[in-house]
């Protein structure tokens, strides 16, 4: 028997997936209004911030606060989870998204009826050893995800980015172009060039190697923001369990990490990165790509205007 609550939930889920996944792909150049999460207070975007639990528990809490994974993943959909798999270092070094999160999120998506879950990143270090040593390949495969090579140039397709200021064209990984649901799952780190790497910077891993170099040549921050005019993730989940606060983005030792035991989740990529900047002690506007994205009206940088739902698990 369907209760009223079920009906409302299903309605929100349908609405959310349509507005974010399908329409986002169809009208890529459009700049839709920020937010879209269920039960948002009149147009305000929702940010969930969880502290003091283990990663899996914090992810469960964050998703529950956003209406559950079913809000984002419908039966039969193809899902792309894009972790940060940049560097050939083990999980305790904090340079990559933690494999526990990748595995758990994969299981949740499949549990929600996803047809497939794919994982990839265009790594900075050698892709094979990075996939293996980050622990992500095994965690993802054990959970039932397809792990796709990130180095294979033939998997990228060139697209136009009409909304971009500096970035007009880019070769984008087919999984980003073809998946129904796109979940961004980065790790929070200091970055010696971009100041911070969180959700927006993580999307540099879905474009080809040459385009990554183009970003660096043509104005890194502007290009990072420009890409969002083409495609924004359905959902962003940020691993800030032990963020790297110096020597990023690769880091040297575990001494570069600070234990924060935090996880953020939001559909608004600007809001979540603004909060991420705060976690690292920066005013959000100091991270230029966050400021530019806000100026392009791709999301809310002013955290006072965001519906922040805080949870402390201990």
């Amino acid at each position: 028997m369907k209760t009223r609550r079920d009906f409302v939930k299903a309605g929100f889920a349908l609405g959310a997936t349509f507005s974010l996944a399908d329409l986002g792909g169809l009208f890529a150049a459009d700049v839709p209004a920020a937010g879209g999460a269920p039960a948002a207070k009149a147009g305000r975007s929702v940010l969930v911030a969880v502290r003091d639990g283990d990663r899996v528990a914090m992810l469960d809490q964050a998703l529950a606060a956003l209406g559950g994974i079913e809000t984002f993943v419908r039966k039969g959909q193809t899902v792309l989870i894009k972790p940060n798999i940049g560097w050939d270092v083990p999980p305790e070094r904090g340079a990559n998204t933690h494999p526990d999160l990748v595995g758990h999120l994969t299981r949740l998506c499949l549990g929600a009826g996803a047809k497939s879950v794919s994982i990839f990143d265009c790594t900075c270090d050698h892709w094979r050893s990075t996939y293996v040593n980050s622990g992500i390949e095994k965690a993802a495969q054990d959970a039932g995800a397809q792990v796709i090579p990130g180095n294979d140039a033939s998997l990228y397709r060139e697209v136009a980015i009409p909304g971009g200021v500096k970035l007009k064209r880019a070769r984008v990984h087919a999984l980003v172009l073809d998946s129904d649901v796109f979940i961004n799952l980065p790790v929070l780190k200091h970055h010696s060039g971009a100041l911070m790497t969180a959700c927006m910077k993580n999307l540099m891993g879905v474009i080809s190697k040459q385009d990554q170099q183009n970003y660096h040549r043509e104005d890194l921050h502007q290009c990072i923001a420009d890409f969002l005019t083409f495609r924004r993730p359905t959902l962003n989940v940020l691993d800030a369990y032990h963020p790297m606060v110096r020597n990023g983005p690769r880091g040297k030792t575990v001494e570069d990490l600070v234990e924060m035991r935090t996880l953020l989740a939001a559909t608004d990529i600007v809001a979540i990165d603004a909060a991420a900047a705060r976690l690292l002690g920066h005013p959000p506007a100091a991270v230029r790509h966050v400021k530019i994205a806000a100026d392009l009206q791709l999301g809310t940088i002013d955290l006072d205007q965001v519906d922040i739902r805080r949870f402390k698990l201990a």
Partner: protein, 533 residues
């Protein structure tokens, strides 16, 4: 073939060695254990002797092969040497193309002067301080390695990519993924290709002519084989001169008229044993104490048929021993290495040699350019040089940072190297081994020229020799600290500036040791225990 168990043994061993080495040299997906390549390459005569002579390892394979040759002839050449086995494979293919029609190669007189010239030329080269260059040209295993790594490996990669494409069309990865074929430059690839053509032509026209006339390793082993305790010989009583043994002999070393086998040229393939209907060919004990003339009755070799010398066997044995000792002495003396040790640390090298090589001169002295490391290198940053090291470094591996860099946690090249040219360093030492140094030109840097953030160099730097400092209006400018730099090339690889990069790495003629950046625990950026928003 119970009658020819020796051939069965030989073929079995040959398949094992050939498969092991080929697999290690082709392995573009790092599917087989790293130790496989190292072990198989370590069974090869020249790498083993180089490792022993330089004290790199207590590698006994070379000694064992020489003792085995003294016992029963050139077993190495047909059962262990991959270049010899490759020629057998080519010969089989050629025979198959000819639809099995065998080609009769009659007995040929030994070209003694050519064999001596090439052998003593090799010894002379080693003694003159050109050991690495000379051995890289003549070592059959290294020649085989270059053919497989430079030619067969990229071809196998292309086949893999075609399979990966097909697997994708049918809708599953099937465990396949695409791999960049990574062809060597035309210059560095040219020699292996020419060599492959040469041995193919020779083997089709003249059997194992390369092995028993041109190959100095074969000639060296031939000197021992002539003195062997057991030698293949024709039983004159059984021989009906039917000549069934002649078409199967690859070495043109059966002189039926004299009833004699030139065992210094025989590559111990044992084909003749099975071909003889009378069972007239087999091993005969022929050992005699050095210095005593053979009594005609017990020797299978009539005196007149030997190499026209008063005591050819003894002379051969002494020459073989002398060659080995001289080569070992030359390798261990390493004049170039001594020269390098007196040079200042900072001398730059146009080409960069791998961590564990110690320095360019030591490396070029010892490396025989077998390209096992080139095949094993996961990022393909190791590429065969053409003239980057100079002429003496032809085909030796070098690090090329245009499309890759040396992985910080990797020491695969040291793990596979069979002769100690690349020592296997402890990981902690490898991560401090300065193989080169970077040169940062901030005036070319994007941050200065365009006023936008970049720091791709510092991003990739594993030691933080390249970090960034605040610059201008909320920008970060790269800063370089030489003492922390190991020359891995990650910065040069990542730099987006064109046509000339803003940070480039040059090699160090002698490798150094970097300092390690040691920092305390990082400070928390915000309030502990609460959200900063």
């Amino acid at each position: 073939m119970p009658r020819n168990r020796l051939k069965l043994l030989r073929v079995t061993a040959a398949l094992v060695f050939f498969a092991g080495l080929t697999a290690a040299l082709v392995d573009f997906r790092a599917l087989i254990p790293v130790a496989t390549g190292h072990w198989f390459a370590g069974t090869q005569l020249v790498p083993s002797l180089v490792a022993l002579a330089t004290g790199a390892s207590l590698s006994l394979a070379g000694i064992i092969i020489m003792v085995a040759t003294l016992a029963a002839g050139r077993i190495y050449c047909s059962a262990i040497c991959p270049l010899g086995i490759l020629q057998d494979v080519v010969a089989r293919l050629a025979a198959w193309l000819r639809r099995g029609k065998q080609r009769l190669l009659p007995f040929a007189r030994p070209k003694t002067w050519l064999r001596q010239l090439l052998l003593w030329g090799t010894v002379g080269g080693v003694l003159a301080g050109w050991s690495g260059f000379t051995l890289s040209l003549v070592d059959p295993y290294s020649n085989f390695g270059r053919i497989v790594s430079g030619l067969f490996r990229p071809l196998a990669t292309l086949a893999n990519n075609a399979a990966a494409g097909a697997a994708r069309v049918v809708g599953s990865g099937g465990g396949f993924y695409r791999v960049e074929p990574a062809w060597a430059g035309l210059g560095a690839l040219g020699l292996p290709v020419i060599f492959l053509v040469l041995i193919t032509v020779l083997v089709v026209l003249r059997g194992r002519l390369y092995c028993n006339t041109l190959c100095p390793v074969g000639t060296l082993l031939g000197l021992f084989a002539r003195q062997a305790a057991f030698r293949l010989a024709i039983d004159q009583g059984a021989c009906s001169k039917c000549a069934a043994c002649l078409p199967v002999c690859k070495s043109q070393c059966i002189d039926l008229r004299a009833g004699n086998i030139d065992f210094s040229r025989c590559v111990a393939c044992y084909n003749c044993i099975g071909a003889c209907e009378q069972g007239g060919i087999g091993y005969r004990f022929a050992w005699r104490p050095p210095g005593r003339r053979p009594a005609a009755s017990i020797s299978p070799i009539p005196p007149a048929a030997s190499m026209e010398a008063p005591d050819p066997q003894r002379r051969a044995f002494l020459a073989g021993t002398a060659v080995t000792l001289a080569a070992a002495l030359g390798a261990s003396r390493m004049p170039a290495r001594k020269r390098a040790e007196t040079e200042p640390d900072t001398t730059a090298s146009a080409a960069i040699c791998p961590p564990g090589a110690g320095g360019v001169d030591r490396f070029l002295d010892r490396c025989t350019a077998c390209h096992l490391c080139v095949s094993a290198c996961p990022t393909r940053v190791l590429k065969p040089a053409f003239l980057e090291y100079g002429f003496s470094g032809l085909m030796k591996p070098r690090l090329d940072y245009s499309a890759a860099f040396c992985t910080y946690d990797c020491r695969r090249c040291g793990e596979v190297c069979p002769d100690g040219a690349i020592s296997l360093l402890d990981l902690a030492d490898k991560q401090l081994a300065q193989i080169g140094e970077a040169h940062l030109d901030v005036e070319k840097c994007i941050v200065k020229t365009k006023g936008t953030d970049c720091a791709a160099c510092s991003e990739h730097c594993p030691t933080k020799a390249v970090s960034t400092v605040p610059y201008g209006n909320n920008l970060r400018l790269p800063e370089y600290k030489r003492e922390l730099c190991i020359g891995c090339g990650a910065c040069e690889y990542a730099c987006p500036v064109r046509p000339e990069k803003a940070i480039i790495v040059t090699g160090r003629r002698r490798h150094g040791r970097a300092q390690k950046l040691v920092e305390g625990k990082a400070a928390a950026p915000g309030p502990a225990g609460d959200f900063p928003f």
